[in-house]
Structure formats: structure tokens, C-alpha cells
């Protein structure tokens, strides 16, 4: 399957990924409503992206009482807006901080059904969309450990 892979060491913190995501999905420029988020702090000197990993066995799917979140045959984990009641359990459950919510609306990456918009606006290839392979998945696991430690 193809996934978004992130490289925090290349991320410059510009947030064009988040802004383009929100513009594409919601028609507004708002980095806080992007399904990909950049956590940055110039004083602590880091930039790091948060985006759904479309886990093999997703915590968000497990905790959803309304079965509004499902992992499709294409491997993409999606939220069904009709079923979602905005309880935010998925937001709490995601170990990677990859789901957010605004006024009851859940914001989560769906890989734009296989054509993610965000990658087009990254000038340093800090977020790329690639077919999985062992090396990339190992790297992603290492990165996940870093995120888990930060949380």
C-alpha cells in the first residue's frame, strides 16, 4: 500500500501541507484544520509532522462506538460523517496525535483517496507519498517511537 511518509529533519515548518489540506477539504486556509499537522517550536528548535499512519489494527476503529471509522479494503482508514457523533474518543485514542476535532467535526487524513494534495506543496520532500517497503516501514516505526515518547 502507498502511505504518507514524513521526514521531520527536512521539515522547515512552513505548514503549506496543513494549509493546502484544509483548503482542499474545507475551502479555508487554516493550518489548524489540516489533517496533516506540523508541531513546531522555534525556541525548542523542532518541527515535526503529525498525520494518520493508517495503522494495521487502528485504535481509533476499536474505540468508535458508532462504528463510524473503518479500514477499507484499500487500507485507508476513513471516518463516516453520517455515523460520527463527534464524541472524540478516536482523538483521545490515537497514540500518534493524528486525529483532531473542531466543534464536533473530526479531522483525519483519508489520503485524499489515493491522491494526497499536501505533498504537492512541500518544497523539501519532507512529506512524500510512496509504496511501502521494509526500509520505509522501519523508519516509520522509529519515528512513531519518537512521537510516542513526546506524548
Amino acid at each position: 500500500m502507498k502511505y504518507l511518509f514524513t521526514y521531520p529533519e527536512k521539515c522547515t515548518g512552513c505548514r503549506q501541507c496543513s494549509i493546502s489540506c484544509a483548503l482542499n477539504k474545507l475551502g479555508e486556509c487554516n493550518p489548524k484544520k489540516g489533517a496533516i499537522n506540523v508541531l513546531r517550536d522555534e525556541f525548542e528548535r523542532y518541527e515535526i509532522q503529525f498525520v494518520c499512519l493508517h495503522c494495521e489494527d487502528p485504535e481509533c476503529v476499536l474505540v468508535c462506538m458508532k462504528s463510524a471509522i473503518t479500514k477499507g479494503e484499500d487500507g485507508i482508514v476513513r471516518v463516516d460523517k453520517e455515523k460520527c457523533i463527534g464524541c472524540r474518543m478516536c482523538v483521545v485514542a490515537c497514540p500518534y496525535g493524528a486525529i483532531t476535532s473542531f466543534e464536533g467535526d473530526i479531522i483525519k487524513c483519508d489520503l485524499c483517496d489515493g491522491e494526497p494534495v499536501c505533498i504537492k506543496y512541500c518544497s523539501t520532500e519532507a512529506v512524500v507519498y510512496e509504496e511501502e517497503n521494509e526500509e520505509l516501514m522501519d523508519r516509520r516505526k522509529e519515528l512513531a517511537k519518537v512521537i510516542l515518547k513526546k506524548e
Binding site: 512552513c14 489548524k32 484544520k33 522555534e42 525556541f43 518544497s123
Partner: protein
Amino acid sequence: MLNRKLGVVDLSKGKIEIQEVSESLRKALLGGRGFNSYYLWNMVPEGIDPLSPENVLIFGAGFLTGTLAPSSGRFNVSAKSPETGFLGDTNCGGFFAPELRYAGFDRLILKGKAEKPSYIYVEDGAIEIRDAQDYWGLDTLDVQKAFRKDLGQVEMAVCGVAGENLVRYACIRTGIKNAGGRTGMGCVMGSKNIKAIVAQGTIGIEIAHPEEMLKTVEELKDYIMKSKITPILGSVGTPLLYEVSNAFGGIRTKNSQLNAWSDDFNASEVEKFVEKMISCSSCFVHCRHRNTLGGEGPEYTALGLLGSNIGMEKLEDCIKMQNQVNDLGLDVSSTGTYLAWATELFEKGLIDEKVTGGIDLSFNDFETYTKLIDMISRREGFGDILAEGQWAAEKLNDPNRDYLIAVKGLPQSDPHDVRYMKAFALGIATSSRGADHLRSRPTLEIFFKLPPDVRNKIYGAEIANNPITLDTKEHVVSWSENIFATIDCLGMCKFICHGFNSPHFVDYDWMLRLINAASGWDYTDAQLRAVGPRVIDIERLFNMKHGLTKAHDTLPKKYFDDPSPLKVAKGHHIDREEFAKALDRFYEVKGWTPQGKVKDDRIAELEAIA
């Protein structure tokens, strides 16, 4: 809605008004610098002391700030300048301005003076004046860290101890190094008892045609990334300019006694101190260095003004000093220029230890300069004199400012020695805020390989293909001023503006596509091209109202009278007669009177904007 609101804060009365802004005004001036200058012209009474409560301090985001438009993280801060007495205006990047817009506001106008140290807190459509006792006395980094600790992921524009202590060239800072550096806007903050504007918001900027904006920016990104200059800016940033200018003798050195300096300040050396290149909001170029000495930078400006201009031999010392200046909240360009000024006066015997309080000034004296920078920010001893900037001329025994590299009282911003590059000279002489390259920097003048027909097409006139003549350069300067003013109104960075770093990049056509995609207007090319000249004329009117005359459109004495001593530029200076003629031609291109005044019918037209 694309547009946000205007917050008018009367600090003396503790009163806050939230206003809508008319579409006609937005179509006339777009936003950012244009709006700020317009409000200053209308609101600041003639003859006031810039440090009095009558002064007005404006924080204004650009028309496209915070959108997907590339490099759109910028805002302007404007007031009557305590450093010059004329137009105070400074443009800054980072993340503050987008946050101000996400919090619901395009612009805040601060009037009066708070009774006690305060800060302005803005969140999702609301403005509060809050007590800042706990934050007063902190430097620019510590205060921002304290706000983040107390209030979460806020973005801030703050003044440092230099602003609190009313150093006339105190800057405004957001983040570690992004500065609204010029014309002492941090000093005006201090005079109003305001430590910071703190913003936090979740209100997205609605775009009229999202698909059109996504498409335009995708194409524009490809265009910008394909340029030869982009990867260079993205790997070494502005220091690349040092070597270019130094090669022909265009680097201010030891208070312009020399015009070239050591290769130890080349970008290849600066790169050794770079930990990571980072961006401002929405920027593809990422020209900011996170340095290994605990700060960000240096920019080309710091390399020159806190490097060659004060005779520094070690790059590391220069970077340390710029980190210090950034922390304290001083303007790099002014600080470096005043230090160099005082050092030359001391070396020439025009001042002695009685004036300096026992300080022995000499170029390349890192220890003394570091101590003095700290003393300036706290107004201690000789630092108290230097904190007055150009107003210290009498005390420094240089009453006519013959040794100060400044125009209209503002020290020259960039490290360019302009005796060789005549269009640069005309630009800093006529700029609305004093000696400043960011108003009109005609970089293409030193693109020696640019074909003449390309140059002529860009500037819309037959241009002399030679940087050493003032002939025809009135067109170059005027064209540059207009387009840079326009991009300032949009809140986008000059780094991707057509004609600033490259003969390519964002021209009026690209601007028009972005404006119409964002707003849904049918804005025309003619409407867009009218914005820049309008802003320039309004700034001229503000300056004239505050005492500016033709005599202020001039250059530092040294640039006229002392020919450059080194390299290709050797022997070059600005001829007074040639300059006077160029000034006349410049006024004509601007449509001003021979005395440099805006004509009456134009004034009536500008007064009718509402």
C-alpha cells in the same frame, strides 16, 4: 470571509472598538503596508513627539497573509518613528501575522498609553488589554517562552528590554530572529507600556475559489523552485549576497572608510554554523538558518553591519553579537551603524574617553562591543547616549552627521556600499523610511549578464546597461518601489517578488491570479498597478506633513565626497550635480512637483479614498 476586522485599542481609556473595513478601501490599498500608511497619514497629528501618547502604533497583516499564497506570513508595523521623526514602518515575517488573522483580525491600531505594563491578547474575534507585570523586563526570547508556557501555542510580536528602555532603534520581534527591525517600532511599544501582542486563533480564512488557489500555487511553486536562485537561498540564505557585493567593492566596512572585507564572512563559512534551514509561514524558500550558537541567522545584514562595518575578523563573534542584539530587541542595521559611527569618531579624536565614560573604542573589539550593546539596551553610561541614535550627533561632536551612514535619520539597512551602484544610491536617498534597500533594491543592476532587452522590458523603459551611471535609473527605482509596495500590501515576501532577487518570480500577473482566487473579485491589472503608486504618494504626504523637504532626499556625505578606495569600485562616488539631476527626473517620473511634493489634484484624489 477573506477579510478580517480592524481592532482599535485606546490604551489610555482602556476602550476597544472592533470595526469592519469597506471593500472600496481594500480595493484601493489591499492591506499590509498600504493600509498602515493610510491610517498613519489620517490619524497622526502634525508635530507630535513620536514617544507621546498621541502617536499611533499599527500592526497590519497583508491581503493574502496566512493563506496558501507562497511566503505570505508577513505584516507591517507602523507609527511616527522615534528614530527619524518621519514615517516609521517595518515589515516582518514569521508566524505572528497569520495567527493574528486566524484570531479574526487584519489589523490592530493602538492609541494612547497604557497606565501600567500591559499586553494585548487576541483570540477568536476578541481583544483584551492584560496586565504584563510578570513579563516586563524579560528579553525577547524569554518573554515569548513565558507566554507559550502560560497561554499555550500562541504567536507573539514583542519588544525586548531595549524597547522598554526606549532605545530609539528598538525592534519588534516574533520568534527568535524575525524582526520588525527598522525605524524603532519596539521603542514605540515601550512608550505605550505595551510588551506584546499575543494572538491565538482558529478562524480559517475562507477562499472564494479554493481550486483556483490550489492550482495557482501549485504552478507558482514549480516556477519558484525551478529558478536558479531558490536552492541557493534555501541552502545559505541571504549571506550569498556578501560575496557578490564584496567581489566588486560594495561592502560597507569600518564605517565606510573601506568598501571591501574578508572572505571569512562568505556564505560557505556561514554554512558551517547552520544546523537546519527553516521557513516562515507558507514559505517554499526556507532561507532562515537555525545556527549552532543558539539562535537563528545571520542574515547578510548582520554579516555586514555587525561584521565588516565594525571591523570584525571572526565570523563567530559576529554571529554571537547578532544573537545578543536579537535577544535584547535592537535593530541590527542601526546598532551596527551607530557602533561604527562612534568608533570612527573615537579613532579620529572627535570624541574621547570623557564622552564614552572611559570606554576605549576600536574596530574588531568584540568584548567592548558586547558590553556596549548591553549598555545601549539598558541605557547605561555611554550606552544611554548611543541609545539616542542619530539624535546623539551633538554629544558625539558630529553635529552635521558627516560621519553617519544614514538618510532621513535612518542608518542604512543593508551592507551595500552604494558609491558604485548608482541606482541603489538613488533608491536609499528617496525611500520613504530613510536609507533602506527594502523599499526599492534594484538587484538586477548587478546582474551583469542580464540581456539589455530583458532589463528594458521589466522596467518599461530604455535603461542604461551600466550600474555606475545615474542616467535612466529613476525608472529602475520607481518601478521597484511600486512593485515592492504592492507585495508588502499583499503580505508576501520580497524574496519571491519579481525584480528583487531575480528577473522572474511573482509579477503583477501572478499577484492578480492570487488576489482574484482568494477574494472572488474581478480585480484588473490596472487596479493592481495603481496600488503601489498610491502607497508611495500617501507615505510622501505623511512625511511632508511631518516636516520632510526635498533636502532630506539625499545621501550620507561620505558617499558624495569620499571615493571608494578598493577593488572595481575604486574611485567611484556620487557626483552631487548628477545626483541633483537624477532627483529631478525621479520626481518627474513620480508625478511630483520639482520640490518633490505630491500635486494638489493627486492629494484630493487620495483624500477621497474611503
